[in-house]
């Protein structure tokens, strides 16, 4: 038996996908032309699955900030934050984010994944209990795995269910409850009732941690996220986010209303034992924070485009997973059909994400779209036409898929 035999069922799924067409989970873009356009071979592709919510990756100020950072401080830090990897840029960004969120403490990390891995594993100790939304992202799940804390899942976006499980748990001897939710959920695009979670969590004496990776920059009057939008930002204990979506860079942050959070810098292994983010990444994110704070026009356009696309797809009778938001997921009957349609969309010049179990809730197979403030009305019409074409050629597509799978 080989070391790789355990992956035979997964390999079989990959083989099916490759019979159907391209590797949807390993697409190579030959060129990125703009925020909303890429190129594969000779084909220009409309990008509708990049999480580039505010469209800042080609913003002149963000690009200049990154270029200047390379000129001033080089290409990499060659060290972790606890060694030689803390530059003035890291501190400036931490101050800017703390100020934006109105919190006394903020720590930046090298990636978004590492952010939740670090913060959750650092916050939860052996005697604490983590209560995690059932649809939590892999980095939250993996963060709990690095702790000695017990972890209990509660039903997705259901404060009453959390209340029941906190009551069932009873008093946590020598420890605390840490409740972990997200703002905007990345797969279905549904939003959390954060105000209700604040109420339930604090009624039980717990701490509330919100991952606003997909909602920072997108929601709230100043772009702080859904907690700000719902008027409870000052009541949330911890807010994490990423630089690789609205902030158009790479990295992440966790902020807290508890100044004692700073001690976590001496505890979090994924923070202590990895190189810090490059000056270019940090300075691009710092420039983008300013854009977020004054980005009401970007958020307004993103909302209009989201509603335009959601209505168009609904009118075509597509099964959508949530109300209109910058993430719009189209539920398909199974993985093979979703893969076949994903290939048809790419051939039609539209890139979306193929999302399949176990990375999706309810074992769903999805064509997942994420929109950008840089998308125009015409861009949305192009996406809608591509999905309309899918409907029109459904019969021939399924026949082609059947033939490919039997070949």
């Amino acid at each position: 038996m080989s070391l790789f035999d355990k992956y035979a069922p997964l390999q079989a799924r990959v083989d099916v996908m490759m019979k159907i067409g391209k590797d949807a989970l390993g697409v190579q873009f030959d060129d990125i032309i703009s925020t909303t356009r890429g190129r594969i071979g000779n084909r220009e592709i409309l990008l509708a699955g990049t999480n580039n919510y505010l469209g800042l990756t080609f913003d002149e100020d963000c690009m200049s900030a990154a270029k200047n950072a390379v000129d001033n401080h080089g290409t990499g830090t060659t060290g972790s934050r606890i060694a030689n990897g803390t530059y003035s840029e890291h501190i400036d960004l931490e101050k800017a984010l703390a100020d934006h969120l109105g919190m006394p403490s903020c720590i930046v990390f090298t990636t978004g994944y590492q952010t939740n891995l670090s913060a959750i594993s650092g916050l939860a100790g052996d005697k604490d209990v983590v209560f995690m939304d059932a649809d939590a992202h892999a980095c939250i799940i993996d963060g709990t795995r690095l702790t000695g804390a017990s972890t209990i899942r509660f039903r997705h976006n259901n404060p009453e269910d959390l209340d029941k499980r906190l009551r069932r748990q009873g008093e946590i001897e020598g420890g605390n409850a840490l409740v972990v939710i997200e703002g905007l959920y990345s797969m279905f695009g549904d939003v959390a009732p954060i105000d209700e979670f604040v109420d339930v969590t604090h009624r039980h004496g717990g701490y509330l941690f919100i991952d606003e990776a997909h909602s920072y920059g997108v929601f709230g009057p100043t772009g702080c996220g859904l907690a700000e939008e719902q008027g409870v930002l000052d009541k949330v204990d911890f807010i994490s986010g990423t630089f690789s979506k609205s902030l158009a860079s790479v990295g992440g942050f966790c902020a807290s209303r508890h100044p004692e959070f700073e001690i976590l810098r001496k505890v979090m292994r994924p923070y202590m034992f990895t190189a810090s983010a490059t000056p270019a990444n940090i300075c691009a994110a710092l420039a983008a924070v300013e854009k977020v704070k004054h980005g009401a026009d970007l958020r307004a356009n993103l909302k209009v485009r989201s509603e335009q696309l959601h209505k168009g797809l609904s009118d075509m009778q597509y099964d959508l997973c949530a109300e209109a938001s910058p993430v719009i997921a189209v539920r398909r009957p199974n993985e093979a059909v979703a893969a076949m349609e994903w290939n048809a969309l790419i051939e039609d010049g539209v890139y979306v994400n193929l999302a399949v179990p176990p990375g999706t809730p309810q074992s769903s197979s999805l064509l997942r779209i994420s929109l950008s403030a840089a998308h125009t009305e015409e861009d949305i019409n192009i996406i809608l036409k591509a999905f309309n074409d899918l409907k029109d050629k459904q019969g021939s597509l399924m026949a082609e898929m059947g033939a490919k799978l039997q070949a």
């Binding site: 017990s150 972890t151 179990p357 176990p358 309810q362």
Partner: protein
């Protein structure tokens, strides 16, 4: 306290929506390996068992459970505590 057969029957009931190929569910069946239930679905089944028996089954305990029989034993242990 439920009997082993009662717990087994409840697990089979909760597994049913995730077993479209109607694979036989034995005590020795690997939940993920034999029945091909994905990790997300396993945790949905766990939440159903937690609610039915009014117990907490922490995720770290679930990661050690591979078979239907092991899950049955865990439920019986937790309901007896």
């Amino acid at each position: 306290m439920p009997t082993r057969n009662e717990v087994y029957d409840k697990i089979c009931e909760l597994l049913e929506p995730y077993n479209p190929k109607n694979r036989p569910i034995e005590m020795s069946s690997g939940i993920m390996s034999d029945l091909e239930v994905d990790s997300t679905a396993v945790f949905d089944i766990i939440m159903g068992l937690e609610d039915h028996y009014d117990i907490s089954i922490p995720m770290e305990m679930v990661s050690d459970i591979k078979t239907v029989g092991e899950l049955t034993s865990a439920i019986i242990q937790l309901t007896s505590e």
